[in-house]
């Protein structure tokens, strides 16, 4: 029985890891292509949540989850065009500072628009409750999230591996100079990657709005875990981030099973151990431009 309980935590951790993935994958992609650690990534997650709360009130849950990521992705175009683009070849400390500042501005802007008090929304009745498969209990709602994440993951993998867009992006990660020499401008591709990244973060916010506190600082909260996932997986590695997100979810679940009070600390211990053995993260690649 004890083993089944543990297994249930492992499976639940995988589901949770899928959610972390939505935030961390975009962060990793933006870093890979643009060389920018986007400290404002959490702000797009928070915006996704707030926009979805507003849209849920007017159009219902389904429409809000569909529209909110696109609305935020459009904001991502402005973000890339007017802010990030100036810092691709600048000292990395400048992009860190500007995205950090932007995160603070975004948090205060949310506070001014929606107030400091949280806003609330609910899961639709049809996704409430749990399903029991074998001995395992799953929240219906999280299964929905997991299915969407799996579909998105497949879509992004196909986009990067099977399309000309993906080929340019992958080449741009490794040798942007060669891509430029071939007469290809990387900037439109970067716009696409930023839209994709912040859109995924906004989808994460929209999905988590009904089951977490939607408040102005929620973006800062999620950034910690997103960074841990990206660092463990290895900056720039698609599968590294996927494996890391699932691993973080599972390790947290196992820690809570045995020692509940250590649940949140366990993921930082995991990061510490991984970096001791592999300073580039689990599947971190050697990227020439960052060496």
């Amino acid at each position: 029985m004890q083993f089944e309980f543990l297994l249930e935590q492992v499976v639940n951790g995988l589901v949770l890891g899928g959610y972390y993935l939505l935030i961390a994958l975009g962060l990793s992609l933006i870093f890979s292509v643009g060389g920018i650690v986007n400290l404002a990534h959490g702000a797009f997650y928070a915006l996704g949540a707030y926009v979805s709360v507003e849209l849920t009130r007017r159009l219902g849950f389904g429409a809000s989850v569909a529209i909110s990521p696109f609305a935020v992705a459009l904001l991502g175009i402005l973000f890339e065009r007017f802010i990030l683009r100036r810092f691709y070849s600048a000292d990395p400390i400048l992009s860190l500072l500007v995205t950090f500042g932007l995160a603070m501005v975004a948090e205060q802007a949310i506070r001014m628009i929606w107030g400091a008090a949280p806003v609330s929304t609910e899961i639709p009745q049809s996704f409430r409750g749990s399903v029991i498969v074998g001995d395992f209990l799953f929240s219906r709602y999280r299964l929905l999230i997991l299915a969407v994440v799996a579909a998105i993951l497949l879509g992004i993998w196909l986009l990067l591996q099977k399309t000309s867009f993906g080929r340019v992006v992958r080449a741009g990660i490794q040798r942007p100079d060669m891509v430029a020499a071939l007469g290809i401008r990387l900037q439109p591709y970067m716009t696409g990657i930023v839209m994709l990244g912040v859109g995924m973060a906004a989808l994460g916010g929209a999905f988590f709005a009904p089951i977490t506190t939607v408040h102005p600082a929620m973006g800062a909260e999620i950034m910690t875990i997103a960074f841990v996932v990206v660092v463990i997986g290895g900056l720039g590695s698609f599968w590294g981030v996927v494996i890391s997100a699932l691993l973080v979810g599972v390790v947290r679940g196992i820690a809570i099973h045995f020692e509940p009070a250590a649940g949140e600390a366990s993921i930082y211990i995991l990061m510490f151990l991984v970096l001791l053995v592999r300073p580039r993260g689990l599947l971190g690649e050697r990227i020439e431009k960052f060496e």
Partner: protein, 414 residues
Amino acid sequence: MIRYPRRTLLRAGAAFVGASAFGFPAIVKAQAERIRIGHLTPLTGFLGVIGSYAQLGVKLAAEEINASGGILGKRIDLLSEDSINPATAATKAQRMLEQDGAVVLLGEISSASSLTIMQVAERNKKVFFSTGARSDALRGKNCNKYAFHCDIPNTVMVNAVGTALSQQGMVKGKKFFTLTADYIFGHDLLKAAKAFFGTHEANLIGDELIATDATDFSPYLLKVRQAKPDVVCCNLAGNQVTNLVKQYAEFGLPYPLVGFNLNTGDAWAAGAGNLGGTWPTVWYHTLNNPTSQAFVAAFSKKYGKPPENHAWIDYVTLKLLAEAINTTKSTESNELIAYFEKQAQFDIGKARKAYFRSWDHQLVQEAYPFTVKPKDQMKDQWDMLVLGDAVPGAGDPLETIYPTKEQNPCEMKA
């Protein structure tokens, strides 16, 4: 060496002399006509949401007091800042007293931060009103003569809800599973809950300590399901409560969820369709009392939303402090302490007046259990709670729900 034209030097000199003669005395006079009061409360982190209400409440009180002539004819100069964490709270408290010239401190919700501010206040021999911290230990083994405690302590919250649950047949012989915030407040609340379970023949079959930065509760909910309790009890704080309530509704576990701690801000954040069960509160904006309703009207007019219980407690604390200073005609700590220790009575917007108990400085007042209104009966998004009868009942002394001298190990040093 830089040389300045003589005329420029003369002009600058004249300006300084002029300022000394006319401007500076005016500034000095202006400062002398103000009473500076330091306010600390968490505006960020897991208590930041309810802390922001506390700040709105205390600001409103300061404005009202200033509009009606101030204290002893002087305006209140309120310094209100984010306490952030226990260490920063202590540093800011020290700065407010030492450098900014605050004569008294008030605020705080986190019991851990309140404890460090209490220590700073004692070192500086200045009064501190801990407005929102609920740990029994603060007014128990950690009490000191400079600290006054305005919110209801954990034991009272447990007694308020426990009594209501007992009447519903949900305590005796029942298996409880508790989820507890992993810091001084939670540990303290669990201790009070265990004492209640012990005296009311309930069984505690499981307890999970949960870090204050946890936002996902799914692993804990799985452990609840594995334990199969009769009742799940929430001993969490701030955003933790909101997250748990939302995720409990998400999983749809069949065990009733109740709690020994809840702030109305957490309930509003959880949303109407997610919250159920029986919980305690110290105040709610629908209390039908002239003082309360006047405050609710002023707050709603100014901020466009009704006040939360931390807005109320910080508001009434500044008001009763002003009353004390006006009565004693002093901001000296010893004078104020002596006044409050005489158990002066204050109208805090409840049916019965409240007073600070002389031996542990606890503000003795009524508390309320509440249940949640069905969604279709709510007038607006804030009209969520149905208050039960005030505890203790009208015929019982107020102190019956508070720890006795024997139960509360408070020894004030002279």
